[in-house]
């Protein structure tokens, strides 16, 4: 919990002066990264948008962004930027017990634990509630069997947000439970998953008689769907329009990098290991890529070509719209209006931007668009981004799922009738997998 005597600031200037005072008093390049992250976590500035009693300051997003800006100016590293802070912590703060919040959230901010998300399965993508991984009670533990897929960061993760089936005798949404799951145990196997780009940024996770204590249930037993909704909402917002919740420099996290946390902050910053997130928002990141494409167009003498110019303008337009949509949504939220479609709109825009970047780059590249690696334009960057472009419209809730959310929750259109709504899970066919034996 935070131990600041100060009241929450209500203006950008007040945030600035409080953060500056904190940095002046505490930031020291000679202390260890671990000590620094602990000071930041206990100050409430690690995630100022969280509630004041749970490691935050209760600030609206635009004021939180002012704090991140002060960290940027001071070149002070922020807490780890991974899924722990983006997904696990907000979910635990919303649904966990006070004991769980104490146990898990601070360790996320101090880099002690890295988290992954164990939701998607080969048979459960858009229809997440049809997942088949089982967690069966055995004393004061549950025994986990099954498989997860598209898990980013599974290899270095200490814990996973696990969504598993605890009751097959009830309809699919009502038999799920969310767990804080320890990854380092027998019965857990992590295999890298080679994706269409040729890289392996994700993993498959196999569970064979793995165990999780009942005390690690987040929310209610069989109440996991509600918990998962909080996680997914944070995921949509994080992947879409600039949430403005990023520190420019972030520390690493997890058991595999604990020795790095012992080095002095100054050494960490000089080592180049600090993850520099080029910009807080997806829009601004694309803005950076935009500059690259303008240079490429000029270098190749393509800047006078009408088609190239149309594509450049299309890309710029989308990235600016994404920024301004985010800005309007934050202003609306600050004025107490419902954010409504903001997260889904931002997520859809991110898909459009990825595809438009590819089209713009390929139009500039011409025949050289056939080449990859060091032989390709931008040192292979055009090929890499072009191959990655189909991903954003699938991960974190596909474009089609986002359109359902906008249609049903924002525009109030009727839901697709679900004829299986009252059918127990054990009687359903799920994905392309055979039905689980029940």
């Amino acid at each position: 919990m935070t131990a600041t005597g100060e009241s929450a600031p209500t203006t950008g200037e007040a945030v600035r002066s409080q953060v500056r005072a904190f940095l002046d008093e505490n930031f020291d390049r000679d202390i260890s990264l671990r000590t620094w992250l602990e000071r930041v976590a206990d100050s409430g500035w690690a995630s100022p948008q969280w509630p004041a009693q749970w490691f935050g300051k209760g600030l609206p997003a635009d004021l939180a962004a002012v704090a991140f800006d002060e960290f940027r100016k001071a070149k002070a590293p922020g807490p780890p930027a991974g899924l722990g802070r983006m997904l696990a912590a907000p979910t635990i703060i919303a649904h966990g017990t006070d004991e769980q919040k104490q146990r898990f959230v601070r360790r996320i901010l101090t880099g002690a634990d890295a988290w992954c998300q164990l939701f998607s399965e080969p048979g459960a993508g858009s229809d997440l509630a049809s997942l088949q991984t089982r967690a069966e009670p055995d004393g004061d533990e549950c025994v986990v069997n099954g498989q997860k897929v598209w898990t980013s960061g599974a290899h270095g993760a200490d814990l996973g947000m696990l969504l598993a089936r605890t009751d097959v005798g009830v309809p699919k949404h009502r038999g799920l439970t969310c767990f804080a799951f320890e990854m380092d145990q027998p019965g857990v196997e992590v295999r890298p998953l080679k994706q269409m780009t040729g890289d392996a940024q994700f993993a498959e996770v196999f569970f064979t008689g793995a165990r999780v204590p009942a005390a690690n249930v987040i929310g209610d037993l069989n109440g996991g769907w509600r918990v998962a909704m909080t996680t997914l909402m944070n995921e949509r917002a994080g992947l879409g329009a600039g949430s403005g919740l990023g520190f420019p420099i972030s520390a690493p996290a997890g058991r595999r990098i604990q020795q790095q946390l012992e080095q002095p902050v100054g050494e960490f910053l000089a080592s180049g290991m600090s993850t520099t997130i080029a910009a807080a928002s997806a829009g601004a990141m694309v803005g950076g890529n935009m500059q690259l494409l303008l240079l490429l167009a000029k270098a190749r003498g393509r800047d006078g070509d009408g088609n190239v110019r149309q594509q450049i303008a299309r890309l710029y337009t989308l990235s600016q719209l994404n920024r301004w949509n985010g800005l309007r949504a934050r202003e609306a939220a600050q004025a107490g209006q419902r954010a409504g479609a903001a997260a889904s709109v931002g997520k859809l825009m991110a898909s459009h931007i990825a595809r438009q970047w590819r089209e713009t780059a390929m139009t500039i590249a011409g025949g050289d668009g056939m080449l990859a690696g060091p032989d390709g334009p931008l040192g292979g960057g055009v090929a890499r981004q072009s191959l990655f472009a189909p991903a954003p419209s699938i991960y974190g809730g596909s474009d089609q799922v986002q359109r359902n959310i906008i249609g049903e929750r924002v525009l109030g259109l009727p839901k697709d009738p679900d004829i299986f709504r009252d059918v127990p899970f054990r009687d359903l066919t799920a994905g392309t997998q055979p039905k689980p034996a029940s």
């Binding site: 803005g287 935009m290 500059q291 190239v308 110019r309 719209l321 249609g407 525009l411 259109l413 839901k415």
Partner: protein, 377 residues
């Protein structure tokens, strides 16, 4: 930069919306669009007298109420939503802005109060070649004659040119492209109303043959006046497009909830639901662009030339696709004359071309980006 309307601005918008619901219903629009004049003089007077809409952004010394571009944008959005049939864009957005931008104090004192009180319908006649919205190929000429000038030449795509009592015309004088004011009854002026795709926006062709006119500002000042005026007019048009696009989305969603096929409201089918979601994405993004551009215009930002083009691009695209999808979602009834969907489609396809197509504005945008504007390194 903020993009939030104040509570007072929201209330004002609400009062304009209520007024337009009463005075510019679908039946009113259909009645007026069939007339040559294309507007209701009584409503025009109420707009000026009750709500002060014509003089909204004009200074009080000229009979206006001294509000700014932000209020103007809110009004235009509502007018776009209602497809108001009135010479507002020509009188206020084109002629009014050109007079203000001219910096000619005497002309402002003489001519703006008539605009503010609703007694003057005015327009700006500058287009000669429909492929070009600037002054590049100007062939209308102005010759000195006594105290004034006489104009010879022809103009087209003059909004409300057949009903305007005050015509601002751009002509080539000795000192370069210059702005002149002429009256409807001036000798040698021939006006012909043209048939339009968008029947709610009237357009005329004008011929000047030795037509007497008064110089506004200095000789050679028209290029600058026109550039500044059209930049603001583009943002104003974008706001109008947002209002019309939102109305298309509202019509589509309402119908998708009502219309039942295969035993279900068609809005429950993803084929329709996803179209509506995409419309929302485009309309909301267009609104962000129009508002951002409006605030840039109100604040006199350097970004305005770039963001004005951006707003024209995405507001044109958003309205064109919303109006098209609105017809598709309505199916057969959407293709009938009696349904309003075609009125918005007509507005969409016409406004898309007006003041430069998205294609032209994307090219302008790219030129500016390649010249280093708008992208932080």
């Amino acid at each position: 930069m903020s993009m939030t309307f104040t509570e007072e601005q929201d209330e004002f918008r609400e009062s304009v919306r209520r007024f337009l619901e009463q005075k510019s219903s679908s039946a009113d629009v259909r009645r007026l669009m069939e007339t040559d004049e294309g507007y209701d003089p009584a409503v025009w007077q109420q707009m000026a007298g009750q709500l002060g809409l014509q003089g909204l952004a004009l200074a009080e010394e000229y009979g206006g109420s001294g509000y700014g571009f932000i209020e103007q944008i809110a009004v235009l959005e509502e007018m776009g939503r209602a497809l108001l049939c009135a010479p507002y864009f020509s009188t206020v957005v084109l002629a009014g802005t050109a007079l203000v931008q001219s910096g000619d104090d005497a002309a402002k004192r003489d001519l703006l109060p008539g605009i503010a009180d609703g007694s003057t319908i005015a327009t700006l006649a500058w287009v000669e070649n429909p492929a070009e919205w600037g002054t590049g190929s100007l062939s209308t000429t102005a010759k000195r004659s006594g105290d004034g000038y006489t104009i010879d030449g022809s103009k087209t795509l003059v909004l409300d040119g057949h009903t305007a009592s005050l015509i601002l015309v751009v002509a080539q004088a000795d000192g370069g492209p210059s702005l002149f004011a002429s009256g409807a009854s001036a000798s040698g002026l021939t006006r012909r109303k043209l048939e339009t795709l968008d029947m709610t926006r009237k357009v005329a062709a004008l011929e000047f043959a030795g037509t007497p006119a008064r110089l506004i500002a200095d000789e050679g000042a028209a290029a600058g006046i026109l550039e500044r005026t059209l930049r603001l007019a583009v943002v104003a048009l974008a706001a109008e497009q947002v209002g019309a696009a939102q109305k298309c989305l509202d019509m589509s969603v309402e119908y998708a909830k009502l219309r039942v096929q295969f035993g279900r409201p068609i809005g429950s089918f993803q084929a329709i639901k996803h179209k509506c979601a995409d419309m929302l994405l485009e309309v909301e993004s267009a609104r962000s662009a129009a508002y951002y551009a409006a605030w840039a215009a109100a604040g006199g930002s350097d970004e305005l030339p770039l963001v004005a083009s951006l707003a024209k691009v995405c507001c044109s695209d958003a309205l064109a696709s919303a109006a098209t999808e609105n017809i598709q979602i309505h199916g057969g009834i959407g293709f009938t004359w009696e349904h309003d969907a075609h009125l918005y489609y007509r507005r969409a396809k016409s406004a898309e071309q007006f003041l430069g197509s998205p294609f032209e504005h994307r090219d302008l945008l790219a030129q500016r980006l390649l010249a280093g504007e708008g992208v932080s390194p």
